[in-house]
């Protein structure tokens, strides 16, 4: 078993710990993967900004030792767009939950994708509204139970990355909390990509989702997540029937297109500095 090295303390606000997340929650794993990805990218701490919305996963911002902006529900990308346009040299990571990003924030999500603005979205998808106690979101699979869908939701779910791609995002990847090393690499690749990048991080919510849907405890959920996932490389050439019930992980799409903040600053004749002035 691979040993995961100790997480750097410089990027954590250790005094703010312990965190508010429930036992067995995947948010801590995703947050650690994000911190490692930032470390791997070797950014200057002062250039990194963490923006988040409202929900369990968005509380991560408070535990990370950067300039952190905890915004209103669904609006993280809109706040981040303003900040990125004002300060294009900053590296912005935007943490959102599935409901935050795809329901109340759906409009901002597609328009950030359309502009292809250089923001790194990390969408923690646990298929449920956790903080409010387990209501269904646009990423709850059809048939799964929630407090607001006690008989199972009849609604169809979004394919978040297809949505992002259709709207114009130029990088989309999927990872999960059961494979943190891969997730870290995906976030790092997204950060390195010039343009709007989306990393969907599947994450267990044993309390508000797993229990109601009889998915077992945290370990069972992580195991299930791992068993059901198949990397995009390994899925290549497989029949559709073979991929039934599987979740494809890895970089789903990546291509180049003009990035909005840089295009705008070129238009007004301003050079974007490589680093902030601080």
């Amino acid at each position: 078993m691979a040993v995961i090295e100790h997480l750097t303390q410089d990027f954590l606000r250790t005094k703010k710990l312990p965190h508010i997340w429930c036992p067995g929650c995947g948010n801590g794993i995703v947050t650690a993967a994000l911190v490692r990805a930032i470390e791997r990218a070797d950014y200057d701490q002062r250039d990194v900004v963490i923006v988040s919305g409202i929900g369990c996963s968005s509380r991560a911002a408070g535990y990370l030792n950067f300039n952190t902006l905890h915004t209103t529900h669904g609006r993280a990308l809109a706040f981040a767009t303003g900040l990125k346009m004002a300060r294009p040299e900053l590296k912005l990571f935007v943490i959102m939950g599935d409901g935050d990003c795809s329901a109340i924030g759906g409009n901002h999500f597609i328009h950030a994708a359309r502009r292809n603005i250089d923001l790194n979205a990390v969408v923690v998808n646990n298929h449920i509204y956790g903080m409010t106690g387990g209501q269904h979101s646009p990423l709850t699979p059809t048939g799964k139970k929630a407090t607001t869908a006690p008989g199972g939701t009849l609604e169809r779910e979004f394919n978040l990355l297809e949505l992002a791609k259709g709207a114009g995002a130029t990088f989309g990847a999927r990872g999960n909390a059961a494979q943190p090393r891969q997730l870290e690499q995906l976030i790092a690749r997204g950060a390195n990509h010039k343009g709007f990048s989306v990393v969907e991080a599947l994450s267990p919510c044993p309390i508000a989702y797993g229990r109601r849907n009889k998915l077992g405890g945290p370990v069972d959920m992580l195991k299930d997540m791992k068993e059901k996932s198949i990397s995009i490389e390994r899925s290549a050439g497989k029949e559709e029937s073979e991929l039934e019930g599987k979740t494809i992980t890895g970089v789903i799409f990546s291509y180049d297109a003009p990035e909005y903040a840089a295009e705008y600053h070129r238009f007004i004749g301003k050079e974007v500095p490589a680093k902030s002035g601080g």
Binding site: L69, T72, A78, A80, L90, H111, I268
Partner: protein
């Protein structure tokens, strides 16, 4: 005074020019009648000044983008009208709570709802005060001319920076679309009150001791910004004494600088029997009435015009109530600021509302007719 040149322009354009003179270099907005000219002027002007103009996907995003850019250190403004002002409310509350400076322009049109988009109104006065949830401080200005729009926009930007408090400019459709002569200083750098760029060693983003400058993101001060109640470093807290202290503090900064925030103007008789208290475009009709009264045997009539609506100019209104028997409050709604006037006059004078809400201005004759009853 620097060199000046008179120009003819619309209230909405003067608002954009005032913002530029005050150093605003970031605008985010969404098209809506009757405010669109503010956005169009900014779109034409900002790129040449090295500024950022962005048309966002909706009103909510515009407000969010403005706050984001302010945290990046830019001076920012957004403009809208009633329906958009409704949508912006949550994020206006965020800016108040997180103490992020920005200016929100609401060019009022006839509501409720979609209403009459091209008709003037003063129906958003109470929305400006209480539109966002919770107990919050508000600053709102209401200019009565194109000239005043230019200068109040500058005041709004500078005050917003100084107090780290959003400022609302309540224009009405008449002021927004009317063309008048304005004199704009050539060297507008003089209009920007520069904040200190020196960060004290013991800087805290939300210092309990009082006003503290906003240090933009990206300068190595790793603080947290949130709409949750927070401690001096911005971190969430639910501790009752700390919550109470925080709420008091954001109100107290307005009280402490009241004299810079509350702007009014009195014209007319020194010992008035009747005083008209009004704001926005209605001031223009009231001014005509006061002038006429002066030439008509110097009738004892005065006009208190309110450039600041919030915080309400209580002292100034109490002052005129001591002298006057009657206070007339004309406004283009079913009676909004009149309640505040009554609350502070406390029976010292009779308070008479004069309301019009058919999408037309209150005429000088309407005010004169009412006035005549108390002067004869």
């Amino acid at each position: 005074m620097p060199e000046t040149k008179p120009v003819l322009m619309q209230g909405n354009e003067a608002c954009a020019e005032g913002a530029i003179s005050a150093g605003v270099r970031f605008y985010a907005g969404y098209p809506i009648t009757p405010s669109t000219e503010v956005a169009e002027r900014m779109a034409a002007r900002l790129p040449d000044l090295g500024g950022v103009f962005i048309q966002m996907e909706d009103e909510i995003a515009s407000m969010a983008a403005v706050i984001g850019a302010s945290i990046g250190g830019m001076r920012t403004l957004t403009a809208t009208s009633g329906p958009g002002f409704s949508l912006k409310q949550e994020n206006i509350g965020y800016a108040i709570m997180a103490e992020i400076p920005c200016v929100i322009v609401d060019v009022q049109r006839m509501g409720p709802s979609t209403g009459v988009p091209t008709a003037p109104s003063q129906g958003d006065v109470m929305q400006a005060r209480w539109g966002t949830h919770g107990d919050h401080p508000v600053i709102a200005f209401s200019p009565a001319s194109v000239y005043e729009t230019y200068y109040l926009t500058i005041a709004a930007v500078n005050l917003s920076q100084k107090l780290r408090q959003p400022v609302i400019l309540l224009l009405d459709e008449v002021i927004g679309h009317m063309r008048e002569k304005v004199t704009i200083p050539k060297d507008s750098k003089l209009m920007v009150e520069k904040a200190s760029d020196k960060v004290p060693a013991d800087w805290k983003p939300y210092d309990e001791k009082g006003l503290t400058p906003l240090v933009p993101f990206g300068f190595g001060h790793y603080y947290h910004v949130t709409g949750l109640f927070h401690d001096q470093y911005g971190f969430p807290t639910g501790d009752p004494p700390q919550v109470e202290r925080s709420l008091d503090r954001i109100h107290e900064k307005l009280e402490k600088y009241r004299d810079e925030v509350v702007l009014t103007n009195y014209i007319g008789h020194k010992e008035p029997r009747v005083v008209i208290v009004t704001y926005g475009c209605t001031v223009r009709s009231a001014r005509a009435v006061v002038k006429k009264a002066y030439w008509n045997n110097r009738q004892p009539v005065g006009l208190l015009s309110l450039q600041t609506l919030w915080p309400f100019p209580d002292k100034e209104v109490k002052e005129v109530a001591k002298k006057a028997d009657v206070i007339i409050v004309p406004e283009m709604n079913r009676g909004q600021i009149v309640g505040e006037v009554e609350r502070h006059v406390k029976g010292e004078a009779e308070v008479i509302p004069l309301n019009r809400y058919d999408g037309e201005m209150i005429s000088p004759d309407q005010i004169s007719d009412l006035l005549g009853r108390w002067l004869s």
